[in-house]
Amino acid sequence: MTPRSLLLGLAGAGLFVAALDAYLVVTLLPAMTADVGLTIDRFEQATPIVTGFLCGYVIALPLLGAYSDVRGRAPVYALCMAVFAAGSAVTATAGLLSFAGLPWLVAGRLLQGLGGGGLVPLSLALAADLYRNGGRTFALGSVSALQEAGSVFGPLYGATLASAASALGGWRFVFWLNLPLAAVCATGLLLASRDRDTTSTPASDSIDWKSAALLGVGLGLLVVALYPDDPTNRATSGLFIPLGSLSLIVLALYGWRQVRSLEPLIPRALLRSRRFIGVGAANLLIGGALMVALVDVPILGRLVFGLDQLGSGLLLTQFLLGVPIGAVLGGLLAGRMGGRLTAVVGMVCSAVAFLQMAGWQAGELALRVGPIRPADIALGACGLGFGMVIAPLTAAVLELTRAQNHGLASSLVVLARVMGMLVGLSALTAFGLFRFRQILGTPQLTDPDVRSRVDHLARLVAAAFLQEYREIFTIAAGLCILAAVVAMATMSNGSSRALSASSPPR
């Protein structure tokens, strides 16, 4: 193993641990919410458990990507793992003490997101630093594949570990385990990088912290403003206008600083680049569609198909298995047939899969074609499409920037996708619960006893969810098609084929 592959492997291992954590919550959510006292009829209150993590991601991405450009990948990586571990400890203790309820749990997830979010641009930037000429797209694809592999195993890992460790706290044990894992990854990377300078040639001795903070805070406020705290009556937060206005003011301040600054956080040439804007828009749309799969497939499994926690995790795994395969495939194909075509093919693949899923019936999982379920094929194809776009879109932006800005550039790519996921989750929760309540209505259950009424309600809920998800999967297909159109219109097909060590922004 060469030194640079060791470094990249260690960075990828930590990213894998954090990625496990990002998605394992989708199968553990019912148990976590029950332990902090949330009932099913107020389930929308559980949304911050997911968005808290993503919010941390959003805040960390523009800050830590740029910070690592100056301070070096390894020290900032260790800091990220420390914050991730601290957040894991906070999350694990939720519900154990009277003051450690839902806000405590969300705070823990936020810290985990802050730490985990920084790892993504760091690892991608490290890959770009270590592989300056040939093999870069493959390195990027491999790092992305490790992250997506964490996503693949996350839900199943979480459900399996929580079941196996039920005597050790169940879902809590899953988060406690992050502490030693984070320590091993951080220590390993620090030791392996001792004799190697992981700092890119800095564009400047100082970072525009104020601009980075403005961007992070502005985006964070936008997330909170979009959170539907009462989805029965409104699609956004009750404080949407003041928080949304404040977010716009903060983001406008950031824009003003960018215009006036001699060395802005995001190079002006990048902001004028059609390719950069197109990749950002495509990632935004992709993030929204991705959230549909991540959140709705396990819920569909639990409430419509009648699967248990492990079963719904396995169902989501069929989707997630396709993602790292697609990521590696996308990296290889982009080098051969160009990034634009690869990205378009990926998105069309996911769109077709979503349309197939929009036709699912309640007994879908009983259908088989030989030994294979059509449902698994659709889920796998959907994931494959999402994976295929990762390397081409990332490479398209990295080609526009100099090596010393790769940390920032890669963080912006991921930022757009995570913002798409955040907005997608907010919109999804609001639309989904609104349509669910419309479809379900207010049933009057007249069965003789309590148990038969609850069972009757469960059947009505399953039917309402199935109808709602058909609509949502159709919308997700539309988002994927739109992303494909944007990629086709803004990316050049020559991207990813020929890379130089320091490509000037264009």
Binding site: A34, I40, R437, D449, V450
Partner: protein, 221 residues
């Protein structure tokens, strides 16, 4: 002498009382109540409600017989709230996401009537003073109220008299907090074999909003 008086007054708080008298005072005070709120948390063991594991219950009671109670139970690994309104002799049930409908006959009788906890003849006013081996533990402060903390033991029959659905296979140990000035019972913890199948269980009962304004209307199905 002056120093002793100063020390006693500096300590402040309640002076110990006869535990049996504290329980009698508590029972008498509960008998005069018109409305009360009760929160029950099941901290140990498994107690079923209509076939579901009971996690907690929150009730508003207008005596003698009206109540609005939300039972939080486990449904698979989710928590669901089942609201029961008992008003004018009718029992109405509202599962989550649905409307109120009446439950009748034996199905209605199977649902616990929290107002019965405060019945003058079979509820807390009668049972509390009849505790065996009362023992004074000390003074305690619950919120703004100084309380006497008293331990006592109650038989299975006494417990079942409180609520028919509470079936214990043996004596139950209770710790009761009785208000120092108003003698109202503010809190009680019960430990004993009243869980499913006679398993050891614990429940914590908090009482508040004594004689507060309460509206419990018959739901319109």
């Amino acid at each position: 002498m002056a120093l002793a008086l100063l020390t006693i007054s500096a300590c402040g708080g309640l002076q110990p009382v006869d535990p049996g008298q504290a329980l009698r005072d508590g029972g008498a005070a509960m008998a005069k109540l018109k409305t009360v709120s009760a929160t029950l948390k099941f901290t140990k063991g498994k107690i079923s409600f209509q076939g579901y594991v009971l996690v907690s219950a929150k009730a508003t009671v207008r005596l003698p017989s009206d109540s609005d109670t939300i039972y939080t139970v486990r449904y698979q690994d989710l928590l669901i709230g089942l609201e029961v309104v008992i008003s004018g002799g009718h029992v109405y049930l509202r599962p989550p996401l649905s409307g109120f409908t009446e439950v009748t006959g034996t199905n209605a009788a199977d649902i616990p009537d929290v107002a019965k906890l405060f019945d003058l003849k079979t509820g807390l006013p009668a049972v509390i003073p009849a505790g065996q081996n009362p023992k004074y533990i000390g003074a305690d402060k619950l919120g703004d109220a100084d309380s006497h903390k008293v331990a006592a033991t109650y038989s299975a029959a006494q417990i079942e008299g409180l609520l028919p659905q509470l079936k214990s296979s043996g004596d139950v140990a209770a710790t009761i907090w009785v208000g120092g000035s108003d003698h109202l019972i503010r809190k009680a913890t019960l430990d004993g074999p009243f869980g499913d199948g006679g398993a050891a269980s614990s429940v914590e009962v908090d009482l508040s909003a004594f004689d507060a304004a309460v509206t419990i209307a018959s739901p319109t199905p």
